[in-house]
């Protein structure tokens, strides 16, 4: 079973994402911000990361840059999931090493399509 780290400061979003991803057979870890996510990744790298952009302490973009510099940090597939729905943000995310990008609001179908796209399912 693959593990997905869900990083979002909203507990509601984390809950929705958990339900969707568990339905797709993922084991879920949660983090409330980039710092917590980084700690989780240092402990063990997940196969997938669903990542919000705007979060307190460390935002998703900053987290991604740190992750990609960690040993083995290019392993996890990172799918942004954010309300930053403009081309400039998307381009920055891709440049920093994101694999896919979901614009909120999202639903199961979109998550499934994007996870398929990057070969996670």
């Amino acid at each position: 079973m693959k593990t997905c780290l869900v990083v979002d400061d909203s507990s509601v979003i984390r809950k929705v994402a958990r339900r969707i991803l568990e339905g797709l057979d993922f084991k879920i870890e949660e983090a409330e911000d980039g710092e917590q996510a980084l700690t989780a990744c240092k402990r063990q790298l997940p196969e997938a990361i669903l990542l919000d952009w705007n979060m307190p302490k460390m935002d998703g973009f900053e987290f991604l840059r740190m992750l990609r510099r960690m040993p083995g940090g290019d392993g996890p597939k990172v799918v942004f999931c954010t309300t930053e729905n403009d081309v400039a943000h998307i381009a920055r995310a891709l440049h920093a090493g994101a694999n896919e990008y979901i614009m909120k609001p999202f639903d199961k179908e979109i998550v499934e399509a994007k996870f398929q796209e990057v070969g996670l399912i």
């Binding site: 403009d86 081309v87 998307i90 891709l94 990008y101 979901i102 614009m103 398929q116 796209e117």
Partner: protein
Amino acid sequence: MTPHDFDYLRKLLRERSGLVLSAEKQYLAESRLVPVARRHSIATLGDLVGKLRSGENSSLATDVVEAMATNETFFFRDKVPFEHFTQTVMPALIAARAREKHIRIWCTAASTGQEPYSLAMAIRGMNAALAGFRIEIVATDISAEVLARAKAGIYSQFEVQRGLPIQLLVRFFSQVGETWQIAPEIRDMVQFRSLNLLKDFSPLGTFDMVFCRNVLIYFDQETKIDVLNRIARQMPEQSFLALGAAETVVGLTDAFKPMTDRRGLYIPNAAKRVTPPSNILKFALKA
């Protein structure tokens, strides 16, 4: 709507578009036709069927057929057919058409355009191999409404997130408010035309690759056979047909045969080709 009205509607749909509506779909019909009735200022669905019967308003019948057609589609739907397209079909056609340097592709039921635009984007991704080739993509559909949307090439955020890799969104779309518009370079690769598959389509000419996906499923057996056989007549040797995941030629016609290891992909059956000139010749030799 009385059962009698519903029967009339089913007959009309079948005659005009080939769409088969099963008897238990009355609820679906009603929910889709209420907005049509409203648009035409008709009070009840009974009245709507009455007007259809009287034949006084031909645009009403067109609207009814359009409302009943399922237009569901998305970019790179089912993914695999597009991999077959770039990895199997195009390399074969590039070799087979090396002299003419002209390849014609037909999407027979293009709906709102995601399928032909996916092909156009896939073709853009293989530029080097196609140097000097002229590629035509003809996209047809029975519904004027979906074709208008296809031509505009404007999609909602939801639509561009179903099947379209994010890199392609960034490369080939521009953001217009909350929507996304396909780039002119992709849009200009596709010619959209209105066409009913039940009618003669031979004037469209011949095609090296035909996508006929997720439309045969709505037709009855006889119509499927007829449409497939007529498509076969528009296809030269060394050409390809792609059907939808729930569709096949098997048991319907031997004008095509499935390709081994390429699910959903078919080629014209050379042995079964109906070529009148050579038949005439054989006859003449015998005599």
